[in-house]
């Protein structure tokens, strides 16, 4: 009995409230002409699509670097990988794998530099990460215009140079993960098995990594820096490593996102992406300095569920466009709640 109570307390009331809210949306959906099977498929699809971004938050949280508001750097690395893969003319699974492979060196490089910066600014990581992310997105906007890519699918149809804002992945690796072993529930609802499997794999890898010697050291650096130092673990090295992993996951995340989505989005598109991931992991019950795989899964599911279901159900129910505003209030309110609540635990 007490363990249930404890479990509920750990799970946290916000999650329970959101869970029931989401549940009620699912229950209400059919009454307003929103198809349940489609909604469920959409939620699952988005779950797999965005999960890796949320997972990318974990290493930095564990090592005490806070929430990765600078995830855009990883996203940029992923985009570069994707562009190189298209430029090289790789298609299908090979194109996807190629994109990850080509994104990796950039992710490591960016992550390393970004980690170095964050090591210099302990205590202020989140604010700085945000602005480092913004600045790099704007810098890349310039780069997208002047980088010498010339594959005709990528450049502006009319101008003949500079990259497009959205690049179709139709003939490259669109839905390569989604369609792998996909299950058709009903004529219109498909479960993206491959995507979910890939996400599970990533979670498993992260889970086992955190249990290796390096992984435990990383957690130690975050939770008890003095102890970690005393046992001869280099704080800075661990932190940098966590940032590199996070950045790399950001790169993989954007590739998974885009194979499902079907388009590559450049320019200012990555600007707001970190916020959704931050919101998701906080909804999942993580704190600024502690995050688990459960937080990732629960958070992604609840957040993406909310994102998918609120507009369709509330719009159909109220016949107004108010849901946009409600969603804005709910998702940001939860981030604030999480940012304020956890202080009691840490202090």
């Amino acid at each position: 009995m007490s363990s249930i109570k404890q479990y509920l307390a750990d799970f946290g009331w916000p999650r329970i409230i959101i869970f029931f809210f989401l549940l009620s949306l699912f229950v209400a959906a059919p009454f307003f002409g929103v198809r349940l099977d489609n909604s469920l498929a959409d939620v699952l699809n988005r779950f797999g699509q965005n999960g890796i971004f949320v997972l990318a938050m974990v290493p930095m949280i564990q090592s005490g670097c806070g929430l990765n508001f600078g995830l855009s750097l990883g996203i940029i690395a992923g985009l570069i990988g994707a562009l190189l893969s298209i430029q090289a003319g790789l298609v299908g699974a090979l194109g996807f794998a190629g994109a990850i492979a080509m994104a990796a060196p950039f992710a490591v490089l960016f992550g390393w530099a970004y980690g170095r910066i964050l090591n210099k600014v302990k205590g202020e990581e989140m604010t700085i990460a945000m602005y480092v992310g913004f600045a790099s997105v704007m810098f890349m906007c310039i780069m997208w215009i002047i980088l010498p890519f010339d594959s005709p699918t990528m450049i502006w149809g009319y101008g003949g140079k500079g990259l497009r804002t959205t690049i179709s992945l139709e003939s490259f690796y669109k839905r390569v993960l989604n369609d792998f072993l996909a299950i058709r529930m009903t004529p219109s609802a498909i479960i993206p098995t491959g995507e979910l499997l890939f996400f599970s794999l990533c979670i498993y890898l992260m889970w086992s990594f955190l249990r290796t010697k390096t992984g435990t050291a990383m957690t130690a650096v975050g939770s008890n820096p003095d102890f970690a130092r005393a046992s001869g673990v280099s704080t800075d090295r661990m932190r940098t490593l966590s940032v590199i992993i996070s950045t790399f996951l950001g790169a993989v995340g954007i590739l998974v996102y885009q194979q499902s989505y079907g388009f590559l989005q450049l320019y200012t598109a990555p600007l707001q992406m970190p916020f959704a991931a931050v919101a998701a992991i906080l909804i999942g019950g993580a704190s600024v300095n502690k995050g688990s795989m459960l937080n990732v899964v629960v958070g992604t599911f609840l957040f993406q569920g909310l994102l998918t279901m609120t507009p369709s159900v509330i719009n159909s129910a109220l016949q107004t466009d108010m849901s946009e505003v409600i969603r804005l209030i709910v998702s940001n309110g939860i981030i604030i709640y999480a940012l304020t609540r956890k202080l009691k635990v840490t202090k």
């Binding site: 210099k120 945000m130 480092v132 704007m138 800075d236 505003v325 981030i335 604030i336 940012l339």
Partner: protein
């Protein structure tokens, strides 16, 4: 201390200002804008933006970092302006009305913001940033649905045809530049909005005076060390909240001054970038998260906006593309904030290491220094 060290120190302390001056000096000639235009633009922008930037000072004194939540105040000011336009109150009276209506709203949201930030000690900046998003949602809800449904809106010029909600852009014709033109001094080719500058000057005096009051002293004590302040019997949380409330109210007034000069208000977006521009300006002016002064504000406004004015054209002439100029300008803005935050935080860390070195002697110092590397 050798001379070399002081030069190095000087460079590191003023890195952001120096970077900005260098970029600006390179960029001005290639922008091909006339000196007259640039100077006039600087005068206008000083009048328009200084008040908003000054609103950032008190929270910095109280050790709460940069108040990204100042856009809360901006939204309160906008609500005041919407109502002034709705009831057709024009001229200076219109601005006063907006200020009088906006201030209580700003006090309330400022107090909420302050209490929330008190629960997020050590993460004030990120929290206030997210808080601005959150209040933005509420603002949209009020302006887009409540106005016209609950609050009666009588002016068809600002009401959406559907019967509720305020239009996307608000024409502030009736109060447009009424503060600026109340007494416009013409010096040579330049026109100077005297009254606006008088308002800004009186705010500066207020801040100087406020720092000397008991509350102002408390605020500095809290900013210096919360634990010590608490021990000395200063109500820490209350003092911090008050600094945010004052900042929010000032932001509300600042936004009204800003918008009366613009003559035009993007109802749902005008506040989006308020804190971004203000924070960038004060940092470029040489302030840090912990330390800021009046000169920082004015140097910052001039330098940042100088670059903003010339960089689109300079970038265009430099790279030969109109688009790049715009991206470049934004890159510089975000980059400046990131750079100065990094510089400040790393400096603070170095100092902490130095302190530790003194405390623990050489052995501990080595270890700490090794870590800092």
């Amino acid at each position: 201390m050798s001379g070399k060290y002081t030069v190095k120190r000087f460079l590191s302390e003023n890195a952001v200002i120096i970077t900005f001056i260098v970029i600006t000096v390179i960029a001005i000639p290639s922008s091909q804008l006339s000196a007259n235009y640039i100077i006039q633009e600087m005068i206008t922008r000083l009048g328009r933006n200084s008040f908003l930037v000054l609103a950032l000072l008190l929270p910095i004194y109280a050790g709460m970092g940069l108040n990204f939540g100042m856009s809360l105040g901006a939204m309160a000011g906008q609500v005041g302006l919407i109502l002034a336009v709705n009831w057709r109150i024009s001229g200076i009276e219109g601005l006063l009305f907006a200020a009088l209506v906006g201030t209580p709203i700003a006090v309330v949201v400022g107090w909420i913001c302050g209490s929330i930030l008190n629960r997020a000690k050590g993460r004030e900046m990120v929290t206030s940033y997210m808080l601005a998003f959150f209040i933005n949602g509420i603002y949209q809800f009020v302006v887009l649905y409540v106005m016209g449904m609950v609050i009666p809106i009588r002016s068809p010029a600002i009401l959406l045809s559907r019967g509720y909600g305020i239009r996307n852009t608000l024409n502030l014709e009736s109060v447009r530049q009424s503060l600026d033109t109340a007494w416009m001094l013409t010096i040579g080719p330049f026109s100077v909005p005297v009254v606006t500058f008088l308002v800004i000057a009186s705010l500066c005096l207020f801040i100087v005076w406020f720092k000397r009051t008991k509350l102002g002293q408390d605020m500095r004590a809290v900013g210096y060390d919360m634990v010590v302040a608490e021990a000395a019997g200063i109500p820490v949380d209350r003092t911090r909240a008050i600094s945010i409330v004052v900042s929010t109210v000032l932001a509300c007034l600042g936004q009204i001054i800003f918008l009366q000069n613009m003559g035009n208000m993007a109802t749902y977006n005008a506040h989006d970038q308020t804190s971004f521009f203000a924070v960038a300006a004060i940092l470029v002016g040489g302030a840090s998260v912990k330390k800021a002064s009046l000169p920082n504000v004015f140097i910052g406004v001039v330098l940042l906006h100088l670059l903003f004015v010339i960089s689109p054209r300079a970038g265009q002439n430099f790279f030969g593309s109109a688009m790049i100029g715009e991206y470049f300008r934004q890159f510089i803005g975000y980059g400046a904030i990131a750079l100065s935050l990094v510089l400040y935080a790393s400096k603070a860390r170095r100092e902490a290491v130095r302190v530790r070195e003194v405390q623990y002697g050489h052995g501990g110092g080595k270890k700490a220094a090794g870590e800092a590397r």
